[in-house]
């Protein structure tokens, strides 16, 4: 069974577009012929195979995509004329005009790309849904899947309406595209080159020389927008505060950019040197970031389990996570199981944290990852609740034993008085909202993602 057009299309359409491009430019040569043969082969493979990854695998083995790209480059590359012409045939004005007109075309292309991105960003979500639903119906029919009378499109369409009523910009990214768009930063240096080329009395060799002397050729590589991108990443890292490594890494990217820029005559870093220098920074930070995330996730899991174990003894356990969605008939057994097995599991998780990272249960609370969670308010539980778990519950959390009655009463009180949760738990989301609005416009965050749900907690803050 051939691969459905809905899946295959996005894979091969870019190649079809390259053929359309050469045709529209009336380019016809051995390269374009071969491009068409390769595209035909892709279409054949799409008919012969039903699995898209199998299709991709064969295309890769036959190097169809790679060969196609090379041929396209060869097809559209004009033959060089610069410098080697016979003076009798030498047409300086034509060379200059040809170059300037190519630059003008590139500005048009940049503007068209922006328009296309904006159009995509404000596309009616139901248009996509209709295509997806049509594919789902074809897939179900081909594979004999009974949809049991469920109209996915109708149900999803209602969800979209509901979400848009609540968050009007949930599916609209045009403000984000407008702000993040770097087309004017790219266009400015190209326009400078055009202006240079159109100066009265300009000759081709002078044009080529002056653009190097003034650094215009380097500026055209997009350094302004690259630096803005690095700044944006740094500000995101500061708002999300995932770890100190994330912030330090982004800061170092920016430092590297500025250092390399300062070493250049026109303040524009060498592109390749910048690439390897920023990659160096990535390599430096990647292991630390991974270790940080691993340690954090391990102690969070231990604290969550102690939380669940103590909660299992509360009278309201059946009405809250992780048991609230379990069928009533199976609920008591599930809660009992948590009481019975969690101490054994917690001890094993503790053992692994100690074995791998030398961190004991008590060490968790002085570890830098824990301090960071407090400092950034990304810790779910309140200070008094963590102290309760650490000082009291943990001491009784022993395999084959149960939580003493006096602790159950205290545990219930903490729940009933809403003192379990960190009262500043929304602070990370508030930071993100502040950054988002500062970047994309006041109120944009809420219009896309909705209001941040306030925390109901009577506990004192961590800091």
């Amino acid at each position: 069974m051939p691969i459905d057009e809905f899946i295959l299309g996005p894979m091969i359409t870019p190649y079809e577009n390259m053929i359309k491009d050469v045709d529209s430019r009336s380019i016809s040569n051995e390269h374009t012929e071969e491009m068409k043969n390769l595209f035909k082969r892709m279409q054949e493979l799409g008919q012969e195979h039903s699995d898209i990854s199998e299709f991709t695998g064969i295309c890769m083995q036959e190097d169809l995509f790679g060969k196609f790209g090379i041929l396209y480059g060869q097809a559209i590359t004009p033959q060089p004329t610069e410098g080697s012409a016979d003076p009798a045939d030498y047409d300086d004005a034509a060379l200059l005009k040809q170059t300037v007109s190519a630059l003008k075309q590139s500005i048009d292309q940049i503007r068209q790309s922006k328009e296309a991105a904006l159009k995509e960003a404000s596309k009616d979500p139901k248009e996509n849904l209709a295509n997806e639903a049509a594919f789902a119906r074809r897939f179900a029919a081909q594979h004999g899947i009974d949809s049991q009378g469920i109209d996915i499109e109708k149900a999803q369409s209602a969800n979209i309406d509901k979400q848009i009523a609540k968050n009007p910009n949930a599916y609209n990214n045009s403000a984000e595209i407008e702000v993040l768009d770097n087309s004017e930063d790219l266009i400015k240096p190209i326009q400078d080159l055009i202006d240079l080329g159109e100066q009265e009395g300009m000759t081709f060799p002078d044009y080529l020389r002056i653009q190097i002397e003034k650094g215009l050729d380097k500026a055209m590589e997009g350094s302004v927008s690259t630096r803005k991108g690095l700044e944006y990443s740094l500000n995101w890292a500061k708002a999300s505060m995932t770890s100190p490594f994330h912030i330090e890494k982004c800061q170092k990217h920016l430092d590297v950019f500025d250092k390399l820029a300062s070493e250049q005559k026109f303040g524009v870093p060498n592109w390749k040197q910048l690439k390897w220098a920023t990659n160096d920074v990535d390599y430096e930070f990647e292991p630390g970031m991974g270790k940080w995330a691993e340690i954090t996730s391990r102690w969070e899991s231990i604290l969550d389990d102690i939380h669940d174990w103590s909660l299992a003894y509360c009278s309201h356990a059946g009405y809250v996570d992780p048991w609230k969605d379990i069928a009533v008939s199976r609920k008591p057994k599930a809660i009992q199981k948590s009481k019975d097995i969690l101490p054994g599991i917690i001890k094993q998780k503790e053992r692994l944290l100690l074995k791998y990272f030398g961190i004991s249960f008590q060490d968790i609370f002085t570890h830098e990852t824990f301090n960071w969670a407090i400092e950034t308010n990304s810790i779910y539980h309140s200070k008094e609740f963590i102290e309760f778990l650490k000082e009291k519950v943990y001491q009784t959390c022993v395999p084959l034993q149960h939580m003493p009655d006096e602790l159950i009463a205290e545990r219930e009180r903490l729940s009933k008085e809403d003192r379990e949760v960190n009262p500043k738990l929304t602070e990370p989301a508030e930071r993100t909202k502040k950054f988002y609005d500062s970047k994309f416009g006041e109120g944009r965050f809420v219009s896309k993602f909705g209001e941040i749900t306030p925390v109901e907690s009577n506990a004192a803050p961590w800091n």
């Binding site: 020389r209 991974g290 054994g344 395999p399 084959l400």
Partner: protein, 219 residues
Amino acid sequence: MEPDYLQQYKDYYRVRAERFANNTNYKFSYEAESNLSNAMHSCNELIEFKDKIGNLNEICANALIKDEHIMEKAFYEKHKEEIRVLAADRILENLDDCTNTEELTTLVIEEMNKNSLEISMDEYQREFQGDWGQLDEIEIYENAVVPGNYKGEMQSVVEEVQKSIIEGNESTENEARKFQPDYVMKPELNKEHRHRRLIPYADEHLDEQLEKYKSLIKR
């Protein structure tokens, strides 16, 4: 008055070469561009350049690719990226055979595409890293002290996780074989620096997990 094209081209080629002066990362480009500039400067009339240019322009293109891939090679060697370095290695090995920019472009694109597949195949081996947590889960459920009536359930969890790891590996291996038909998972490769640097555990723990993993997936 007709512009002095000869002088203007001399100035242009001089400036072009000077871009690379004193930059140790671009020494081949500097040399090639200087040769091109010298050829231009030796002309008394523009027409002479037609013969004197020879293949100097092509040599400049080769030199630039050489400089850039020397930088790439140095970066990957520094980080012991034995697979990612292969593209630069092969490009540097073969670029002197390229006589025009078309051949040069083809060489670079072909090697980059080839290397991109090699990298994907190599990084499929990181399945082991993703499964580390599941190996721990097996250890946790095997060793947790729980009342006797839960032993069966605990064992079921262990078996389910084992099955998930085995099936996950089979699926990854089958996926990789679509691109490289003889592909085999080799978890041991995770001990090589390019993978090892991403594993935040001590060598002894890595060895221990690898043994368990290999015996489970029989690779």
